[in-house]
């Protein structure tokens, strides 16, 4: 672990965003992860994305479970709200927080163990409910924190560091998320910030459950020959199915690729996603097509990355529940406790 803090000096030409912050203002404390861990690159990508979106740090809530991946919120967004919950239980804490205050931007950070093993049930329900959040799984195929046991996303036939073979069928979290109703689903690679940062920005702009499965090599326990989650393996098998630019309403639109090759999706708040299809066949708005793509790649052993599925016509949790638009902490006592008469009225309505 690196004992030294990151020096405060920054490059004199470092850009500032519309809030006057530099990228460095979105950093957290020094990482205690193994040097070279893919999770640290994802942290850096999140810092980049939040900086570029000019998110006010105090309007972001970062939540996580347990694992090396779940430790990373400490290393980013030092001025944001944070909650490090129990193993696999981040989704319910996030749901609760979202119900209490829909005005914050929610970032759920989890691992493949935290999500696909112990937390699988919670994961399914948070996707089903359409909680507005960015849910990231930092997927390394192992339980890094507990020294490298296979997780439920380890590919069948892949080898552990000591040579043991993964025998069980892997869970494809992206496919699962699509099936369960997530409306923004992507896969990416920690080693490709060029792809990951725009995906993160678009996910923050999405008005529903956004899920990104980020393959993130565990440099200590899963970066060897025989692993399908190593830096080398992912680089060799990565096929990008789409490339994306996320353009907020404020920015001028400058697109440098050929007309027609791009698909513009306007989001609810006026921001636009410019999608370039690298796989001409793929229809991003078609759930079945997305699932087929994943299945086809599973057979060929390729790793499809980029945006896989997008439905911007979202009915999210607060819509279905008809809950208050104002945060609970902004309501007066009279509004929160309307009294016996109001209760009576509710009860009558249920009879």
């Amino acid at each position: 672990m690196t004992f030294q803090g990151k020096p405060k000096f920054r490059h004199p030409s470092i850009p500032t965003n519309t809030l006057g912050f530099t990228r460095r203002d979105y950093e957290g404390s020094m990482s205690t992860l193994c040097a070279g861990c893919g999770h640290d690159s994802i942290t850096a990508a999140i810092v980049h994305a939040c900086f570029e979106l000019a998110l006010p740090p105090h309007r972001v809530a970062k939540l996580s479970g347990i694992g090396c991946s779940s430790k990373t919120p400490t290393y980013m967004l030092g001025q944001s709200h944070g909650f490090n919950s129990v193993h696999g239980r981040m989704p319910s804490v996030l749901t609760g927080a979202y119900l209490a205050n829909r005005e914050l931007a929610y970032l759920g950070v989890s691992g493949d163990g935290d999500t696909a093993s112990i937390g699988l049930g919670q994961f399914c329900h948070v996707m089903r409910r359409g909680v507005r959040m960015v849910y990231i799984v930092e997927n390394n195929g192992v339980y890094g924190l507990t020294k490298g046991q296979f997780s439920a996303t380890a590919d069948r036939g892949s080898k552990s560091k000591k040579g043991a073979r993964a025998a069980d069928e892997p869970i494809d979290l992206a496919a699962l998320a699509i099936q369960l109703g997530a409306t923004f689903v992507a896969r990416s690679f920690s080693g490709d910030k060029g792809q990951l940062v725009p995906l993160l920005k678009a996910a923050f702009g999405h008005r529903g459950a956004a899920f990104i499965d980020v393959i993130s090599p565990c440099v200590t326990f899963n970066n060897h020959e025989g692993s399908t989650k190593s830096y080398d393996y992912v680089r060799e098998h990565n096929i990008a199915v789409s490339a994306l630019d996320f353009i907020t309403g404020r920015e001028p639109i400058e697109i440098d690729y050929a007309e027609g090759a791009a698909l513009a999706v306007t989001m609810h708040d006026g921001a636009t996603i410019h999608l370039r299809k690298l796989d001409a066949e793929h229809d991003f708005s078609d759930r079945a097509a997305a699932l087929t793509l994943l299945e086809r790649c599973r057979e060929t052993g390729e790793i499809p990355t980029g945006l896989l599925y997008l439905d911007d016509d979202v009915e999210e949790l607060h819509d279905t529940l008809g809950t208050t638009a104002r945060p609970l902490n902004a309501l007066t006592e009279a509004e929160l406790c309307p009294g016996a008469k109001a209760l009576e009225a509710i009860n009558r309505g249920l009879r």
Partner: protein, 600 residues
């Protein structure tokens, strides 16, 4: 771009901005670390080997290293490199026993040095230590040259000069006091194997304007006046003094005048304040002592009455750019300015003068009429006669004179042994990993945010009472340690190995200054633009690797690197390492230069 050749001794040397800028290439970060470790002796000896006069230079150096210091590009102020040199000199114990001594068996070669300034003393030190019989002549009774006769005592006390001139001569040279060399021909006839001319630039420029003759009694040439103050011939000056000129000499004149009774002392300069030749700190010190600096005034005439100076008349000028973009001064068209005064000191420059060198000896002259000297070998066209210091290329400063001395000594050594003067011995270099453990480094890599510490001075009134009261007190130990920690250890290099890199981006993400990028290879200007933080400082090199697996190249901009070691600390494969680069310039001596015994 081609991958950077880090085997070229210049590459990492350039990264050590201060050492690269120092004419004598003093290993600055190494001695600063020694100070921080309490090894003042070691710090002193490292300096002594390179620059011969650490205590003198720690008070007076022109410090070309400081404007070059990397820290000055990251915040307002560079490390106080110069004043830390003084700390090493102030705090060391007796080091006399640690200095090299002349070998018992001499090599039979005899060398004469004309003048006992820093250039000659360096030649003498270097050559006597390796068995030469060196004789140093000076017309003055004490050695030191202008360090002794010109630099006022309130900046440089005599004891410091005595000590360090003593060390320079302690390697075995003989000093012959009060002997002026009146003829080079006669000196050559004495049968020396080589002669080094280090007689300085002793001639102070005059101002031929009306009234100069009539007012002569109260109009003095600055360097002559400073020397006469030093020799005790001058003890007082008038109440109102005008100093003409804006360089170092002018600053020493005005500050000396303040101590000899000058109450209204004005420095009057043709140029603007910012363009003055004097260093910023010299101007500040003068102003602090109550000297007034007046700019954009060109002297027109000395006014006088009954053979006595009454003042100086000035024309007001302003700067304009000519068609070549050069600055010209033109009359501002305003009324002349009359400044009444009792004494004038002229400090408008120095010139070389060699009345004792016979024209028919065969020493070729350059366009300005001075001996033509080879800038690498310091040889004149007369075999065996070498020049250095102010005598070689006109007035510069002490550290330049020392640097010339080392190179001239190498040439003299080569000349005396029949080797080509063009074969310059290479520097000794060494590159050693600083890794001590998984996340441990053998240097203090934490970056302090301390601003530059200010050197304490004696109280102004006390300083002005006595010409010999040293103004600067030097850093306290606590200040020195604080200042030493500001050094970024630029000699601890970031060394990259492409085959080991797995492209995890950890180094890119951690670097506080965004120095590191992995980009597609391209021509240099494109590469420089494509980096995470564009490398816009073209004076600073970029380190370009062999291709990594993805066929990108790693490019590191050296410009603002903090040498914090975080890249190496976060690299899982050791593709980055922090390695200390030692580079010692060759000095006259051993044929196998890198086996030369070191004294540090």
């Amino acid at each position: 771009m081609r991958a950077t050749d880090v085997k070229n001794p210049d590459y990492f040397h350039r990264v050590i901005d201060c050492q690269w800028a120092c004419p004598a290439h003093t290993p600055v970060p190494e001695y600063i670390r020694r100070i921080a470790q309490g090894d003042y002796q070691g710090a002193y000896l490292i300096n002594w080997k390179s620059n011969v006069f650490p205590g003198i230079l720690g008070r007076t150096c022109d410090r070309p290293c400081e404007p070059a210091c990397r820290r000055g590009r990251l915040e307002e102020q560079p490390v106080a490199i110069c004043r830390l040199k003084r700390v090493a000199a102030d705090l060391k114990d007796d080091i006399a026993g640690l200095l090299p001594k002349a070998p018992r068996d001499k090599n039979g070669k005899r060398v004469a040095c004309v003048g006992a300034g820093p250039a000659s003393l360096t030649v003498a030190r270097d050559l006597a230590a390796i068995g030469y019989e060196v004789v140093v002549f000076d017309s003055d009774s004490r050695a030191g040259g202008m360090m002794r006769s010109q630099i006022p005592k309130f900046r440089l006390p005599d004891e410091v000069i005595d000590e360090e001139v003593g060390y320079a001569l302690s390697t075995g040279a003989t000093f012959v006091a009060a002997r002026r060399i009146a003829s080079l021909r006669a000196l050559i006839a004495e049968g020396y194997d080589a002669i080094f001319v280090g007689c300085g630039a002793p001639h102070g420029r005059d101002l031929a304007i009306p009234g100069r003759g009539e007012a002569a009694r109260n109009v003095r040439i600055g360097i002559e006046w400073l020397a006469s103050v030093f020799f005790g011939h001058t003890h007082t000056i008038g109440r109102r003094v005008v100093v003409l000129g804006g360089g170092n000499t002018a600053m020493d004149c005005c500050r000396s005048a303040r101590r000899l009774g000058g109450e209204e002392v004005k420095v009057v300069v043709r140029s603007g304040y910012a363009e003055m030749k004097a260093s910023a700190w010299e101007k500040e010190d003068a102003v602090h002592e109550g000297v007034e600096i007046l700019n954009w005034l060109v002297p027109k005439a000395f006014t006088h009455e009954a053979g006595k100076l009454t003042g100086v008349t000035f024309e007001r000028v302003r700067p304009v750019k000519d068609e070549h973009g050069r600055r010209q001064l033109v009359a501002a068209g305003e009324p002349d300015v009359q400044i009444p005064c009792d004494d004038v000191l002229i400090a408008v420059g120095q010139e070389n003068a060699f009345p004792w060198i016979e024209a028919d000896l065969g020493i070729k002259l350059n366009r300005s009429g001075y001996p033509a000297i080879d800038p690498t070998t310091f040889a004149s066209s007369l075999p065996g006669v070498f020049f250095g210091g102010d005598a070689a290329f006109g007035p510069k400063n002490i550290i330049t004179a020392v640097a010339h001395g080392h190179e001239a000594a190498i040439s003299i050594d080569a000349f005396c042994h029949g080797r080509s003067l063009r074969d310059r011995p290479p520097p000794m270099t060494n590159l050693v990993s600083q890794k001590m453990g998984l996340h441990e480094w053998s240097y203090d890599h934490a970056i302090t945010l301390d601003r530059r510490h200010v050197v304490p001075q004696v109280e102004r009134a006390a300083a002005l009472r006595n010409l010999r009261t040293e103004v600067e007190l030097g850093f306290s130990l606590e200040q020195a340690l604080g200042e030493a920690r500001r050094c970024l250890n630029c000699d601890v290099q970031t060394v990259f190995s492409a085959p080991a890199c797995i492209e995890c981006d950890a180094c890119v993400d951690i670097c506080p200054i965004d120095c590191i990028s992995f980009v597609p290879n391209a021509p240099e200007d494109e590469v420089r633009r494509s980096l995470n933080a564009p490398a816009v400082n073209l004076d600073q090199p970029i380190l370009v690797s062999e291709p990594v697996k993805s066929l990108k190249v790693m490019v590191k901009d050296e410009d603002l690197c903090l040498h914090c070691g975080l890249c190496a600390d976060r690299c899982p494969t050791g593709a980055w390492d922090m390695e200390k680069y030692t580079i010692e310039m060759a000095q006259a001596g051993h044929p196998c230069r890198s086996k030369q015994p070191t004294i540090s």
